[in-house]
């Protein structure tokens, strides 16, 4: 029932213990929007730092010593190895504790986990990335992977929406893509209280009015809050997207990341093993998914 997803890199298991976090240093903390920072991390172990491989769409389990562990998607691209960038919102116990840490302090990391985006299937095709709200966190990895490997994709389109300019993750970075000829970067905000926003104002799905797309040769990667899924998915279906060409990144409670603890199951699949990237076809076949 589920479409085949190529094998992503598997977490290195040290000492035969898949739950063992490897220590990593906080290299940089960069505030993106309110309560949302970009943490740059590097493994203390030099060889692990240099050999760590992952696919866009995979995630890691982040430990704050003495507090706990939480699943976090990787926001940096595998084409830029050496460090990991995690875009983290202060929202739970672990992330609140993380926000109290300072650069040069140490956290635990293990992974990468999950399937990641089906890169082999997406290669040579058009790529449409649709991010709403915090959805850019996992999609940024795919975006930069595609831009760093530009010859492996045909047309690349990025649609990103936020409530206000101040709420848009990676605002400066995405702004710098506007006008580039090798990527169609469409940014929109629901409202612009500052008056300084030079991009579009309007709801995310309205961006579909500004370009044409060929669903048969495109993969759409979508991530955002439920309202984004609701309207964007409908729009993609209206455009004629096959259901297995719509890729979504899901969030679930996770305690292990390796298919044991049971928390992230949707229907009969584990988000940590079979996801977090699911096709829309998976979604309508697995109960409670969206």
């Amino acid at each position: 029932m589920l479409s085949l997803v190529e094998a992503p890199p598997v977490a290195p298991v040290l000492g035969g213990n898949p739950y063992l976090p490897h220590m990593a240093r906080i290299v940089r903390i960069y505030p993106l929007v309110e309560d949302n920072h970009l943490f740059t991390l590097r493994f203390l172990d030099e060889s692990l730092a240099n050999s760590f491989r992952f696919h866009p769409g995979q995630f890691v389990m982040l430990s704050v010593p003495g507090v706990g562990e939480a699943p976090i998607s990787i926001s940096s691209s595998p084409s830029r190895p050496g460090v990991l960038e995690l875009c983290i919102r202060r929202t739970g116990r672990v992330t609140n504790a993380l926000f109290r840490l300072k650069p040069n302090e140490v956290v635990g990391l293990r992974g990468p986990y999950g399937n990641g985006f089906p890169l082999q299937r997406m290669t040579g095709q058009d790529l449409l990335i649709v991010a709403g709200g915090l959805g850019m966190a996992p999609l940024r990895s795919l975006l930069w992977y595609a831009l760093d490997n530009r010859d492996r994709f045909r047309e690349i389109t990025l649609m990103c929406g936020a409530k206000t300019p101040a709420a848009m993750l990676f605002r400066e970075e995405l702004n710098s893509l506007v006008g580039r000829v090798d990527v169609r970067c469409l940014l929109t905000v629901d409202a612009d209280p500052t008056g300084a926003w030079t991009n579009r104002i309007g709801l995310l799905p309205q961006l579909f009015d500004h370009f044409t797309i060929v669903p048969a040769r495109t993969h759409a990667a979508v991530c955002g809050p439920p309202v984004v899924y609701k309207f964007v998915l409908q729009r993609l279906l209206d455009l004629g997207f096959p259901k297995d060409r719509i890729l979504m990144s899901l969030e679930r409670r996770m305690k292990c990341g390796v298919g044991k603890c049971g928390h992230c199951s949707v229907g009969y699949k584990y988000t940590c093993l079979h996801g977090p990237i699911f096709t829309y076809w998976d979604a309508i076949n697995l109960p409670e998914m969206i």
Binding site: R253, G262, Y268, P287
Partner: protein, 344 residues
């Protein structure tokens, strides 16, 4: 597989000899119910027990266990206390051995769980056959017999236990007591088969699981789930006593004022309201009806897709344990549109 027989009157002698292979744990009577625990003397063992309160999973996935110690400057250090204990679990029923085989699959695969696997390696399993009671439906779940996952399995054939030797370790135990075991005769085999047929006919509870996954798909929106949600207390008793429920929670503990801590895991249940709650407040199964449906769905449908069979083994513990008398066999009958639960 090696097949031998052990005279019944020699069982206590056999039990005394196998002590050299580890601590002997067996079902023991406690307040009219039965529990697996370490024997202080062999006469405590009650091998004719119906079922224990907790299944043997407690030996492999303890209710609570430390995974790591965290020490500043040293990172996470795996805990290994107790993993090297050599335990002999004496008197497991086929359904419970079957359940361990299912847990083996969950705790292996792409990522081996070293805690579970080490305990499993260090534990000897000696199975024993049993007679079904009113809550047993292992036959329906194809778990009334088990062909692996044990070191020895004893079948009552009257004056003897006909013994299947499942592993090299089991064989060592037989050899350590070599004069006790005898070759089986055709008459012993015939007696085994006669009793096997008798056991088959003794089941009073039956469910049909053949196209149950399909029926679960079709009845996903059935009103039955709402009714169950109204009744269910979300107490999680069924998960605790289930031999194949393995969901666990992980929590870090740290001493006040200290920077060192312990990461431990403990049994969890998909019936608890926080099971699918994520940071930020979204809860994917906030309703009780959604949670109890999920539990049945995962066992009877999800496992079939993932592992080729349901994870339920029909041990009947959840039926015994539910404080509001939710009965899985009744639920399945209701979904199938069969009124009478006792359908044999």
């Amino acid at each position: 597989m090696k097949v031998l027989k052990l005279p019944k009157e020699k069982l206590d002698f056999f039990a005394a000899v196998v002590q050299q292979f580890g601590e002997v744990h067996a079902p023991v009577e406690q307040d009219g119910k039965y529990v697996f625990r370490r024997l202080t003397r062999w006469s405590e063992a009650r091998l004719d027990y119906p079922r224990t309160i907790l299944p043997p999973k407690k030996y492999f996935l303890p209710p609570r266990e430390a995974l790591f110690r965290y020490q500043e400057g040293q990172g996470y250090l795996p805990c290994a206390e107790g993993l090297d204990r050599r335990i002999i679990l004496f008197g497991l029923h086929a359904c419970d051995v079957y359940a361990l085989n299912i847990l083996d699959q969950v705790f292996s695969g792409q990522y081996d769980d070293p805690y579970y696997q080490t305990r499993r390696k260090n534990t000897v399993i000696i199975g024993i056959d049993c007679a079904p009671d009113d809550h047993c439906f292992c036959r329906s779940m194809r778990a009334d017999f088990v062909d692996r996952g044990f070191d020895l399995f004893l079948y009552d054939i009257g004056d003897y236990y006909q013994t299947l030797v499942g592993t090299a370790l089991g064989d060592d135990m037989v050899l350590a007591t070599a004069p006790l075991f005898e070759p089986v005769t055709q008459a012993d085999i015939d007696e085994y088969k006669r009793r096997s047929g008798e056991k088959r006919r003794a089941f009073r509870l039956e469910v049909e699981i053949r196209d149950l996954p399909e029926i679960f798909e079709m009845e996903y929106k059935s009103g039955i789930w709402e009714e169950l949600g109204e009744k269910c207390l979300s107490c999680g008793s069924c998960s605790v006593v289930c031999p194949t429920c393995y969901c666990y929670d992980v929590a870090d503990g740290v001493a006040l004022g200290a920077r060192d801590g312990v990461r431990s895991r403990s049994w969890d249940s998909c019936l608890f309201s926080t099971h699918a709650l994520v940071a930020g407040g979204e809860n994917f199964r906030s309703r009780r009806s959604a949670r109890i449906k999920f539990r049945y769905y995962h066992k009877q449908r999800g496992f079939v897709a993932e592992y080729g069979r349901p994870s339920c083994v029909g041990c009947g513990r959840c039926i015994s344990a539910c404080p509001v008398n939710i009965d899985i066999s009744q639920v399945i009958h209701q979904l199938r549109g069969v009124q009478d639960a006792v359908a044999c």
